[in-house]
Symmetry: C2
Subunit: 248 residues, 2 copies
């Protein structure tokens, strides 16, 4: 039997999702909890890794069991196990070949910026007080839409074969005390959202024009883009699957 | 010259507002910063103390200087001094006899509850998953309005002469992922908001009726009321002064 875990986590005190031998990671923490509660070593596979300090409103991971399990009971016990930084939102049975990583057809991220100092957002938002021209940032963001090569916004050390992504949403919005960048794509490259945000901030500051921004995309060279913003403002917010992965 | 400081703070890592000899307090932290930056020991007086773990969206405190100061410069330097938990929202000159505690004519508090587990609200909201009848909690809350004796909701050890408060707002509202209690009064007794919320939760659970709640108010006995809820959900949200305290 295969199940999808729908997870939220605050990434502040973790060295990212992916298991590492000598570091506290979300994958290890969650695998350990499930393995203990099910009484058998149970590996989990996420939709994608998140970097150290990055949060998730919704991360999806799959795991297998030999027999059918009581999902509500396991959800309750896992949430009691994780007291602080991790929440299990749901556990649902999926088809045996449903894959959290390969079947995800869309990932959405959000990047939070607070322009006014705010002690309650300290670990969840990037404090950036300089005045920003949000209309220009949105004009530049609209140039990201569609299927393009985004090598300019990828980390240099990476294992991928190509840098082609299809971005279907890229928009800044003011929400309560925050300025939030919403970006959705079929896939993201390593460090991509943080590099995009850093470069769009340079547009907002007037250091780059929208034309410069277009040239940076076309340039396919990471050194052309702006510096990456800190991980604490970044949230993986939604992972979408075709309905065919779910059992009837 | 006298000034009002408008301050926000996350109270999680402090032993409350009020100075204590061997504990980390907000008053000591802020007095120390102002005294350092002004180069002279500068005591501050707040609108009221907040307990250990309680937050403030707006706390007001006054302090005096011998000469006129550049308020924007001091605000900037204080915000650079406090990197995490404390924000100075503004510093304004007031009349020399304006008093942050005695001249405040209204204080507003908010208490945040999350019914769904949420890793991002862990230090800022009380996780309470049991189903609640919010309409009944609001019916009971409406019985708090007006000038009444609130001894039932005061800590037993207290220095006040009487327990009379005038509550002008007491209402539960659903806001994003939270259930929030808004309460405004001319004054509050020690532990009062947390005891009110604890007792209103018992109404919401069906353990007390609205009639029981009225009797608890009339009883004037702390042991009649429900247990206090944890400090982490409580925010001092606004302190109001007559316009006469401000200089022209």
């Amino acid at each position: 039997m295969r199940y999808f875990l729908d997870i939220s986590y605050k990434g502040t005190s973790y060295h990212g999702w992916q298991f590492q031998k000598n570091a506290h990671t979300l994958q290890a923490e969650i695998e350990n909890a499930i393995s203990r509660l099910l009484g058998v070593q149970t590996p989990i596979m996420a939709s994608g890794r998140t970097d150290a300090g990055v949060h998730a409103k919704q991360q999806i991971a799959h795991f297998d069991t030999v027999e059918s399990i009581d999902v509500e009971k396991l959800e309750f016990r896992l949430n009691r196990f994780f007291t602080r930084d991790i929440t299990i939102n749901s556990i649902v049975e999926v088809k045996p070949d449903a894959h959290a990583r390969f079947n995800a057809n869309e990932r959405a991220y959000e990047y939070y910026i607070n322009q006014k100092k705010n002690p309650f957002l300290q670990e969840l938002s990037y404090y950036f007080p300089n005045p920003l021209k949000v209309e220009l940032m949105n004009e530049a963001a609209s140039k990201l839409l569609g299927t393009q090569d985004f090598e300019s916004f990828s980390k240099v050390k990476t294992e991928v074969n190509n840098f082609i992504c299809n971005i279907t949403k890229a928009r800044w919005q003011i929400e309560n005390d925050s300025l939030v960048f919403h970006v959705t794509a079929n896939r993201f490259l390593r460090g991509m959202v943080r590099a995009l945000v850093g470069t769009l901030l340079e547009v907002g500051l007037g250091k780059l024009t929208v034309e410069d921004f277009i040239k940076i995309i076309e340039h396919k060279d990471r050194t052309a883009a702006g510096r990456a913003v800190p991980p604490k403002g970044l949230f993986l917010s939604k992972v979408t699957y075709p309905s065919s992965v779910y059992s009837n």
